[in-house]
């Protein structure tokens, strides 16, 4: 037992805990499936199937993908109607034009939000997500709560994200249950005429490309 242990803020959470206590040990334990993954990794390296460098290179590639990729696609589609058509009809080729490599996807589909239709993407079976374009999905997207509720009560989910849509806008939930991956093309916000493509891309959030929110409103000058 550590006498008069220093109470420090744990790096993994905001609770105060003492390093070296059973509480800290519990929180830092590698869970069962984590241990299995590490064991498999060690075996793959030991048997010469993969090298540590190859594994790290793949991690680096996956970590380099961010929602900024998707935001650039959306901003270009907002300013260039011909690009938007290519994005909707030949999405992988349109991605390549923007330097985004979506070749690892079997196929993906871009869902255009309009004045009358709003799309929300979910994978009820697991966590299918357009990772080559958006990077890794957020934890809430993979949760049982989101995966079960999004199909039954999409508007309640959106409300929890601060999004309220009128009844005359059709909410279309898309459950990516098979080989397709889906990306939402959010509506261009009002009062964005004259913004540059980069400024427009800054309004496109990850959550708006999943469908739980719309794109951000541009910052309006404060009135005195």
């Amino acid at each position: 037992m550590t006498p008069a242990a220093t109470r420090t803020v744990c790096a993994r959470c905001t609770a105060h805990c003492s390093p070296g206590t059973s509480e800290a040990a519990e929180r830092n334990k590698v869970p069962f499936h984590g241990k299995r993954i590490y064991a498999i990794r060690e075996l793959l390296v030991e048997k010469g199937i993969l090298t540590r460098e190859e594994i790290q290179a793949q991690i680096d590639t996956m970590e380099a993908r961010t929602p900024a990729n998707g935001a650039r696609l959306v901003a270009r589609a907002w300013v260039d109607p011909a690009f938007k058509q290519r994005l909707l009809t030949e999405p992988k080729a349109a991605c390549l034009e923007m330097g985004i490599d979506a070749s690892s996807l079997t196929e993906f589909v871009v869902l255009e939000n309009t004045d009358t239709q709003h799309h929300l993407v979910v994978c009820t079976l697991c966590s299918c997500y357009p990772r080559p374009i958006l990077g890794r999905p957020p934890d809430w997207y993979k949760s049982f709560a989101y995966r079960s509720r999004a199909v039954v009560e999409p508007r309640a989910i959106m409300r929890e994200f601060g999004t309220e849509l009128p009844d005359d806008v059709e909410v279309r939930v898309v459950d990516s249950s098979a080989d397709m991956r889906y990306l939402v093309l959010p509506r261009r916000p009002d009062h964005t005429e004259g913004l540059s493509e980069a400024e427009l891309a800054a309004l496109v959030t990850r959550d708006s490309m999943i469908g739980v929110t719309q794109a951000k409103q541009p910052h309006l000058a404060p009135s005195i």
Partner: protein
């Protein structure tokens, strides 16, 4: 293998309860919907999951449903819809 269904066709998802790796969600089984689009043909995941080659390729459809047909009651706007990707061997013509 040419697709049996085309966009606009009314279809019913089979009410099967087969075991194994199945990618037709339970909440649409036995439900009536329509073909929204044809995605192409892909290897059958029910065979792939067990080391098979997944052949022959199965046409994959985006099938649409009225939310009010899936959930009783559906608490929100009656115009809302839901789409699931379903393989041809799970669909019946209506």
């Amino acid at each position: 293998m040419s697709p049996a269904f085309k966009p606009g066709d009314r279809v019913r998802v089979k009410a099967d309860e087969r075991a194994g790796h199945v990618r037709t969600p339970a909440y649409v089984r036995g439900k009536l919907g329509w073909v929204e689009r044809i995605h192409g043909a892909f290897r059958d995941p029910e065979k792939l999951a067990y080391g098979g080659d997944g052949l022959p390729l199965q046409p994959l459809y985006m099938v649409g449903f009225h939310q009010t047909d899936l959930w009783r009651p559906y608490a929100a706007s009656g115009g809302d819809s839901l789409y699931v990707d379903i393989y041809e061997h799970w669909l019946e013509r209506v």
